[in-house]
């Protein structure tokens, strides 16, 4: 379970998160919605301890992330797969080496035969051709890089998956492929997921529950149906674009 209580974060004078309370239950997929620049990615980075809050508590699996010692934090991170917005693949490594770094258990990481099998399995799970493992990130399309990023995130068999804008910058076809992939991975792997996105359509398709972040605060959390029924002006404003979109209505 992921729990955030009273989270406050400011960069200089700019308050990005202001007393945010947010929970994700075991096995749940929650989409964190909001316009660009509202602190969604910052919130996600708090969960894995890449950013520390000015105030508030972040608890993952019953552990307070900000009080963990180096080794404990490293162990916790090995249970969390993080999919970065642009893949964040290591340029100097090919896909095989990139995905292998995701195998966080050191003994398994050193076992080359296990690594080969696991990497092939992850590449298959994200619907990439087997020969992709020999390619370098510069040789891949945006959609492929995102899928390799997902393969790396799942390589260590994590309990939690955090997706930072997995469909941003992709054309609708590739965005649909990624959404489908996220949904399938959540079903097949049974992980607890948080997906940060401003793509309402994808969020409705994938998530069990949604949360809308606006101006540093969560203005609403609920099921997709509760969002559709909501009269909250910020929820309406955010959803309206897509209500008018025939593909969303379909």
């Amino acid at each position: 379970m992921i729990e955030l209580y009273g989270l406050h974060k400011a960069f200089g004078k700019q308050v990005v998160l202001d007393r945010v309370d947010f929970e994700v239950r075991e096995g749940e997929t929650v989409a964190l919605l909001g316009p660009s620049g509202t602190g969604k990615s910052v919130l996600l980075k708090h969960i894995i301890g890449l950013i520390h809050p000015d105030r508030g508590t972040v608890i993952v699996d019953g552990k307070d992330v900000n009080t963990l010692k180096r080794k404990e934090l490293s162990e916790l991170r090995s249970q969390i797969g993080y999919v970065f917005q642009n893949g964040a693949l290591f340029d100097s490594m090919n896909v095989f080496e990139n995905v292998r770094l995701g195998i966080t258990d050191e003994s398994k990481f050193r076992d080359l035969e296990y690594s080969r099998q696991r990497i092939a399995e992850c590449i298959r799970l994200v619907n990439l051709p087997p020969d992709t493992i020999e390619k370098y990130p510069a040789q891949l399309s945006g959609g492929m890089r995102k899928r390799v990023g997902i393969a790396r995130a799942i390589a260590g068999k994590p309990k939690y998956l955090l997706y930072d804008e997995p469909t941003s910058g992709l054309d609708p076809v590739n965005a649909d492929i990624i959404d489908g992939l996220v949904q399938r991975l959540d079903d097949e792997l049974g992980v607890t997921s948080v997906m940060v996105t401003h793509d309402v359509r994808g969020a409705f398709r994938v998530a069990d529950r949604l949360a809308l972040l606006s101006e540093g605060s969560i203005v609403m959390q609920g099921t997709p149906q509760e969002f559709l029924d909501s009269k909250h002006p910020k929820v309406r404003e955010f959803l309206e674009r897509d209500f008018d979109n025939p593909s969303f209505a379909a």
Partner: protein, 257 residues
């Protein structure tokens, strides 16, 4: 903004950098235990520094040696014994020109590369990705680069010294009636083995300043491509200035007799 406020801000920014740099170095020291991670990467970096910089280092030190010899020839009027030219060339190259010129070249070549590489990794979230995988950026990225520099920059300095002295020796014979025996006699007359150590010790400190400053600047890059450019420039300028400051301090400390 008034002058006092500006000075206050500079002071605070400077103090903040010192604090973060100290933390950065401590993090790197903590990562030294992960030999299995940094050793293979260090070997790659060492090869890159050595093989990639050898030609330019030898070329520039050869020219420095030649110019030193030619200027010495220009200033000689015959009232000083010719063997002194050997002393001048060898001392100038080994005590000063070899280590300082090599360091300044490598501050541009290696320092800029490290700052740009790590800066790009920072802005494209590759460093965050390493951390998110529970892996230490210090042992994967910083230690291999710093240790490779500490290993290779003094080695390149020794080769630069040899190249400078050889080139000076050949050049001085073109402008003065100096025999090989004169040159060798002069070179040995004032020679102390400590001078060679002094040259290598200086190179070691310069290597530390180039690699640590450039890695630190790269790690603290902000705001996209513009930030990478700024970090790279700052890394080269800061490490070049630090080389000159260290040169003065080390000369005072190590040659103070």
């Amino acid at each position: 903004m008034n002058l006092f406020a500006r000075i206050g801000r500079w002071f605070l920014e400077g103090a903040s950098h010192v604090g973060r740099l100290t933390y950065f170095v401590l993090e790197a020291i903590r990562g030294l235990g992960e030999v299995r991670i940094w050793w293979p990467r260090m070997m790659v970096e060492a090869w890159n520094i050595g093989a990639g910089s050898l030609f330019i280092v030898l070329l520039i030190s050869a020219f420095a040696g030649a110019v030193t010899a030619l200027q010495t020839g220009y200033q000689f009027t015959g009232s000083i014994p010719y063997y002194v030219v050997g002393t001048l060339v060898v001392s100038s190259i080994i005590l000063e020109l070899g280590p300082v010129l090599t360091a300044l070249i490598l501050a541009g070549r290696i320092g800029a590369r490290y700052a740009a590489e790590l800066g790009t990794m920072r802005v494209t979230e590759q460093i965050d990705a390493l951390e998110s995988l529970g892996r230490s950026p210090a042992s994967h990225l910083v230690i291999p680069r710093v240790l490779a520099g500490l290993l290779m920059i003094p080695a390149l300095t020794v080769l630069a010294n040899l190249s400078g002295v050889l080139s000076g020796w050949i050049s001085v014979k073109a402008v003065l009636p100096v025999t090989d025996a004169d040159f060798i006699y002069g070179a040995q007359y004032y020679w102390r083995p400590w001078d060679a150590w002094y040259s290598v010790i200086k190179a070691f400190f310069f290597a530390g300043s180039i690699t640590i400053i450039s890695c630190y600047m790269g790690f603290n890059t902000q705001q996209g491509a513009e930030g990478v450019g700024r970090s790279t420039t700052t890394a080269v300028v800061t490490s070049s200035v630090l080389i000159l400051v260290l040169d003065t301090v080390l000369t005072r400390l190590l040659l103070n007799q």
